[in-house]
């Protein structure tokens, strides 16, 4: 029988060992990135959406919003918008994660001898990369619509670095959403929840212009210190940066284990 087999078809060899966490995560990430890059609609829609929102705020609502003394609305808006853009475009991450579950891809991955952490790590790497892409394009639109760096370009780079950190943080949050959503459509709906955090922050209007009962929420939710930290880095200051880093660390520490555990039983 063994002899006959060799004649019928060349054998498929069994790997000597199971893959490590990094090589496995790399494959997971490569596949997610390929899917993104090879689906032109995803890229175009992301860019169009971020440009459209920015355009509306800058030129439509902006005229009616008083940002504060000595600062124009475009200077006020663009840093916050770049810092929180992932909250608007990241819904696609939740949808992609939910689709992988619905279409059997996650089952296939979980049936393979890969370290469980590599699924979350790979997904995070890939989606953080696409998020950095949307941060960069959004920043470019910001400059196009009249934003100018208030400080040195080094300050600008520091602020950008912080935005990239947020991109990673929000990626993990959206992955968790996709893992809990009962369907891809539901994931789309759930991801709208985070809009609330973006809008009820100091990002789009000064928090002091909100009604008194709303101000505590705005003040103590993570997005406010996160956007304020980006604004202060741009002007060479570092106020709120500590708080923003603390929030980022907290979100990562809370959501990563949830994602890993949930992937196990997805």
């Amino acid at each position: 029988m063994t002899v006959a087999q060799a004649v019928v078809a060349p054998a498929i060899s069994r790997p000597v060992r199971t893959p490590g966490i990094v090589p496995a995560a790399r494959q997971v990430a490569l596949r997610a990135l390929r899917k993104y890059v090879r689906t032109p609609g995803l890229i175009v829609m992301g860019v169009v959406q971020s440009a459209m929102f920015l355009f509306s705020f800058r030129y439509v609502f902006g005229g009616a919003i008083h940002a504060g003394s000595g600062i124009s609305y475009v200077e006020f808006l663009v840093p916050a918008y770049v810092a929180s853009i992932v909250l608007f475009t990241g819904g696609g991450i939740a949808v992609a994660v939910a689709e992988d579950r619905a279409q059997g891809f996650t089952d296939r991955l979980l049936s393979l001898p890969v370290p469980r952490y590599s699924l979350v790590l790979g997904r995070t790497l890939a989606d953080s990369t696409t998020n950095v892409w949307s941060i960069l394009t959004t920043a470019a639109f910001g400059f196009l619509f009249g934003f100018r760096l208030p400080g040195s370009w080094l300050d600008g780079l520091a602020a950008l670095g912080l935005c990239v950190l947020y991109a990673v943080v929000f990626t993990v949050v959206f992955i968790v959403m996709g893992l809990f959503a009962p369907s891809p459509q539901a994931a789309q709906g759930m991801s709208l929840i985070v809009f609330v955090f973006a809008f009820l922050s100091s990002g789009y209007v000064p928090a002091t212009s909100m009604p008194g009962w709303l101000q505590p929420f705005s003040k103590y939710q993570p997005v406010t210190p996160m956007v304020d930290a980006v604004r202060s880095l741009l002007t060479g200051s570092s106020s709120d940066v500590g708080l923003a880093l603390a929030w980022s660390a907290l979100l990562i520490v809370v959501f990563t284990p949830v994602a890993v555990l949930r992937y196990r039983r997805a």
């Binding site: 063994t2 019928v8 078809a9 060349p10 498929i12 199971t18 899917k35 049936s111 001898p113």
Partner: protein, 335 residues
């Protein structure tokens, strides 16, 4: 390829009191089963019988609530990583990435099984050759036909050189030509010594592929054995009666059961009754005699081959004698 080490080794599957519950729903209910390696094993059963849950438990995607399950002697709870090295899963959906080519899909999965770069390329090439996907291997899988996509998915479950291939309804939703293609591929794998566990609700699929058949219903095994043995037990003719007066259905059922010693099935709220008739025409003649004697008017009566539904029902309802229960379960018991 590991046939030499197989004799005397652990059974392919060994389930003892395997129970899986999802909340209040019991998907597997104390399932017992032992299967030897080197075979194509088909799990047959109606929708909601627990077929998919069983496959997912073997694939370590679902943890048993109670009982035990061993795959080649490895416990799915204590050594899931070991089980995963031995299996390849092709689920109900073809889990291939549509934006990647067939070759890219296979190479990716091979890497995830633990193959290095070169070994992954070599393995992908072997699988493409074996599943006759050469012509489409470098096209994106979004352009594939349903059958090609299923075959590629089958290939993806093969690149780790699994000892056991798990196929959950491998041909559901395929046209007849594509079904044949997938069947040929599975048969070829079986002939090469890979153990295959497949679920299906098509009897002809089991007929084409399986050495051994296990029929499950309500999460437990109701029949098992070789197909020929199973067929002999279910390949009986059926007497079917349509009464003129629905109220007489109960009396007709009594006659059918008395003559054939089998439990009759009644169409709920309807006029039809049927019963397996091992005695064939002779029993039909007795039934007609008894009906005349009892002065029950019938519109139609006849002897026919059992339908696929009846085959399932015969096997999955064996324990139920009461016509009322049998009638109720004709509507199916979907989970």
């Amino acid at each position: 390829m590991s046939m030499a080490t197989e004799p005397g080794a652990a059974p392919l599957l060994e389930a003892r009191g395997l129970t899986v519950r999802f909340g209040k729903v019991t998907a597997l209910n104390g399932l017992d089963l032992t299967a030897p390696p080197g075979q194509v094993l088909a799990i047959l059963g109606p929708n909601g019988a627990g077929k998919t849950t069983f496959v997912r438990t073997v694939a370590t995607l679902v943890r048993p609530t109670a009982g035990s399950l061993r795959v080649y002697g490895r416990d799915v709870v204590r050594d899931p990583a070991g089980v995963r090295r031995d299996i390849g899963l092709a689920g109900q959906f073809a889990a291939v990435e549509p934006t990647m080519t067939g070759r890219e899909n296979l190479e990716m999965t091979a890497r995830l099984f633990g193959h290095g770069h070169k070994a992954a390329r070599r393995t992908a090439a072997v699988v493409i050759e074996r599943l006759s996907l050469g012509e489409v291997a470098d096209r994106r899988t979004s352009t594939y036909s349903g059958g090609q996509r299923r075959r590629l998915d089958l290939g993806a479950s093969l690149v780790g050189g699994p000892r056991l291939l798990l196929l959950d309804e491998p041909t559901t939703g395929l046209d007849p030509v594509s079904r044949r293609e997938v069947w040929d591929a599975i048969r070829d794998l079986g002939a090469n010594g890979t153990s295959v566990l497949l679920t299906t609700h098509y009897l002809d699929e089991a007929d084409e592929l399986a050495d051994q058949v296990i029929v499950i219903d309500h999460g437990a095994v109701v029949a098992s054995g070789t197909l020929s043995r199973l067929k002999a037990s279910i390949g009986q003719d059926v007497i079917e009666v349509a009464v003129t007066e629905p109220a007489m259905l109960g009396a007709v059922a009594q006659i059918l059961e008395r003559v054939t010693s089998n439990s009759a099935r009644l169409e709920p709220g309807g006029r039809h009754a049927s019963v397996p008739a091992p005695g064939g025409p002779a029993e039909l003649a007795s039934v007609i005699g008894c009906l005349e004697e009892a002065a029950i008017a019938v519109d139609e009566i006849g002897l026919r081959r059992p339908t696929l539904d009846e085959v399932f029902l015969t096997l999955t309802d064996e324990a139920k004698i009461s016509p009322a229960v049998a009638g109720a379960s004709m509507n199916g018991s979907e989970r």
